[in-house]
Symmetry: none
Subunit: 207 residues, 4 copies
DNA sequence: AATGAATGAGACTTCATTCAT
DNA sequence: CATGAATGAAGTCTCATTCAT
């Protein structure tokens, strides 16, 4: 029992190491320009060994992206759920998004590049998962909006549109931040984002 | 004169045909999975013929994306500039973005996937161009915001943040539309987008 | 008559021009790295036009080398035949070889490299011709040796061996001269070559 | 230890096998007409395998020629150095040259054709090496001549010219032998060559 | 279970040659 | 006759995957 447990742990450890190196290399070179040989040697294994952990290159890529995404969404939700007030929830949403980006620049770059989303014919698997996750996340944000409307913090309106809007603004900010890679932390913009999101940019006079 | 003109026209016609087919195929399969052979045969040419129009696969891809992007940005700016009132400018901006997306689903899909942004070492050429164009576009939107502030249609604030915001919302809407590929035209959302952008989603009471 | 004659002359003129340019390009790049396109444009013709003068690339190469070789051998023989005395004949042989080399460095380089001697299966044509010409030339030199023996200027011995020897020494000198491309004219060595050839390098004492 | 040694040996064995087959094929068809596919299948490997031993076609060719040349020059020098008397040294020089030619007809044919000496721009590597080796060899022969002059076996004169001469005669004899591919062994001519070299062909009377 | 050498399919690209204008 | 755009066969090289050790 002890022994098999230790084995299991070693296995997980090795698997994680591979995924971690794979993330770096895929992020740096994209799916197609990364090679199994490089991932293997960087992880300290032989090429063939990778195939005992993953079915192949595509599978390795899928799993790496999937698991990372899962962690990201989980983190964000937990952050948001830890807040009670509507305003705080929104700020946490923005903040936790930004937090992830700041700590995973390479991975986000990979996601933005979207490399590998078009794989073999059967290769829509990852694409489908990413989209499903994204829809799911939108649903989550939507539910927050609905909550905001219930407690009359938000205008009544289509909560889904609001979700699109907020996620769009978030993405726009981190996209720009990534391209410029400024020294100022992205987190500084949290207030700005939630403010614009809630109040808009128009002068009240015009209404 | 007549003759060389006709030749020139034929040349352009063929070139355009290749670019057009290339767009479809790159969009469908991504940069790496598309083959010159397929692009050639789809365009009705032999493989070697492509090399009389373009230096190679990467060059073909770069040019196709570049030219398409140039047309897109030009279209959008002309639309916006044709309007005088601030509100109309914003609506036109949203509308012309949406219009392009609706008419170029495949290309936008390609852009979103970002495939090929990581090419050979020298292959940052395209990436750099895309980023430069994007920054340029942001600058353009920013100038509109500044104008809006001058004529006191917009709150005073950082016009660049406003530009990020608006482009982010636009992107979010068309991204979602593309994923779901709804039957409802994207243009229906123009009003919704500009409204949220100007007024925000918060209830005035909360302020 | 007049007209067809003029045509014929123009034809020859063009043909010569092509051969001349082809020589330069083949010499500079070797058979395989030279392209019909370059030969054509350098000669001021279109690619297709070359095919009205020559059957193809290999044929063009064969003819160019053949004709050049013919001229070389002819020149050498005439030089030698213009002399009456044995010693003079030998000196002229050496001198005219050297003269050709000095005036046709590129071509000789091509010959030495021997590029294109292995062409398609049927491509031994040129090889065979070169060899036949060479044998023929050896025969010519041999006849001089025989003459030298008759008039008792040369030791009696195998005249063919003597021919090999002389041509070998000549080649060795010009080969070295080409590699180093010295400023001193190759012709300076004529005396040296004929001297060694006739007297050997051994001290008489040893005999 | 045992194991890695065996691996190393197997590696060398395979490498040698490839080089050996490559030599035959390059010799038969020349650099450009030989294909990696043929070399691979002849050696009993897959195409890709060659690339684990050599960087590419040019590299394979360079190495094959280089190593062969090195062995040839080494063999010749050792033969010559094993002799003490001047005359013997010269005879050994001629003999070992002839010996190599007789046992490496294909390779010598390749060398004479010089194919591949004009490779890519960076491809002068081999050419430079061949020339450097040749110069080096000339230097070696020159030193023998100098020795011969010191012990007063040779006339005083330019030892370098003597070196050219001897190597030229040798080359001329084996070139002819190769072309005719006579049944008589080339070695029979050793005496003839050294004799002509030392005594020349002129009758003493003429001096 | 790990290794890593061998595999071989497949992609890009070149260029001699043809043929409609 | 001249043109030069189109052709397409053929060659090099890469790299995911396998399998004997």
């Amino acid at each position: 029992m002890e022994k098999s447990k230790r084995k299991e742990m070693e296995f997980q450890h090795r698997r994680t190491e591979i995924l971690s190196q794979a993330e770096k290399i895929f992020a740096a070179k994209g799916f197609h320009n990364a090679t199994m040989a490089e991932i293997a040697s960087t992880s300290g294994f032989a090429t063939g060994t990778l195939y005992q952990f993953f079915e192949g290159k595509e599978n390795l890529y899928n799993i790496m992206v999937s698991e990372k995404l899962d962690r990201m969404y989980l983190e964000i939700r937990e952050s948001v759920n830890s807040q009670e007030k509507m305003i705080d929830k929104i700020e946490k949403l923005v903040e936790s998004h930004f937090h992830f980006v700041e700590n995973n620049v390479d991975f986000c770059d990979l996601l933005i590049r979207g490399e590998g989303l078009t794989l073999s014919d059967k290769g829509t698997i990852l694409r489908d998962k990413i989209i499903a996750d994204y829809f799911n996340h939108i649903g989550f944000v939507e539910s927050i909006m609905r909550f905001g409307m219930e407690i009359r913090t938000l205008k009544s309106g289509d909560p889904r549109m609001m979700a699109y809007t907020l996620l769009g603004i978030i993405r726009s900010f981190f996209y720009y931040w990534m391209l410029t890679n400024q020294d100022t932390p992205l987190s500084d913009k949290v207030g700005c984002v939630s403010d614009i999101f809630l109040k808009g940019v128009g002068l009240e006079l015009t209404e």
